[in-house]
Amino acid sequence: MKALVIDDSRVMRRIIGAILTDVGFEVIEAGDGQEALMRLEQHPDVRLCCIDWNMPVMNGYEFIVATRKRPEYRDITLMMITTEGEQEQIVRALAAGAHEYVIKPFTADVIVDKLGYLGLLDAEVHA
């Protein structure tokens, strides 16, 4: 399965990417929402996006809104991973179409656990 990690921090992209690779994802990266939309054009088989909120050019919220307007992307699972921890922000992101929301800081098992109940873990790799 292919995952797109969208964060302007390379360090965060590497951390999240490593967690996803460990559970069997093929990971591609983008540094902002605009670049992420381009990557989606190139990789129509992406099943999961992990999205930071605050990024230059196009932020994560705008990316979610843009993605939800495209019917061909409706099967992609959208997971926000951000330091924005206000309840209002979580509600906003979910209302815009995010499926999950992780507040930084987090541990790897938080992400893996969420992938599990979102049905995105390949049982064999994970076991």
């Binding site: 302007d8 921090s9 390379r10 360090v11 965060m12 590497r14 951390i15 490593a18 605050n54 230059p56 951000t82 330091t83 924005e84 921890g85 206000e86 209002e88 507040i103 930084k104 800081p105 987090f106 541990t107």
Partner: protein, 156 residues
């Protein structure tokens, strides 16, 4: 709509220590208990680096993190899972320590439900001049025995 933030209850919860402990235990050390309040006189940072992130909005809030260069490199290696002694590029350093400042600042913002947005981290060898600001808290922490300062400022 100017809603002045009531900082007193927030500061009573010792937020900078709390957030730092959560951040280090989950993403840097992968075990709890290695960040504590510094005991004794405030040390002088060796080859210091200061990293800051603002919440831009009605009220400008800034989190400034100070470490010695070596400590910052150790944080960078830990975040990236690199072996001890691996050389750290400037780019990785700014990115990693910047992320630490970003997470601390983002968590402070959540505590006070500040409607502003977080700025991109800045790293410099000197602390930013903040003569017109108010320092709300200036914590000195010990991470594996090395000093790390975390300060919270309110800017005009």
């Amino acid at each position: 709509m100017t809603a002045t933030i009531d900082w007193a209850p927030v500061l009573a919860g010792d937020p900078l220590l709390q957030i730092s402990q959560e951040l280090f235990s989950t993403m840097i050390d992968l075990e709890p208990g290695l960040v504590e309040r510094w005991v004794g006189d405030r040390p002088i940072l060796d080859d210091p680096r200061y990293t800051w992130v603002d919440v831009a909005g009605e009220q400008l809030v800034r989190v400034v993190i100070g470490t010695g260069r070596e400590t910052g490199e150790a944080i960078t290696r830990a975040l990236l899972g690199l072996p001890d002694g691996t050389p750290v590029s400037d780019e990785d350093y700014v990115d990693a320590v910047g992320e630490v400042a970003n997470v601390v600042c983002g968590n402070v913002k959540s505590l006070v439900t500040h409607p502003g947005t977080l700025t991109i981290p800045v790293v410099a060898p000197a602390a930013p001049a903040l003569e017109h600001g108010t320092c709300l808290e200036d914590a000195c922490l010990s991470w594996r025995g090395a000093p790390i300062t975390v300060a919270l400022w309110l800017l005009p």
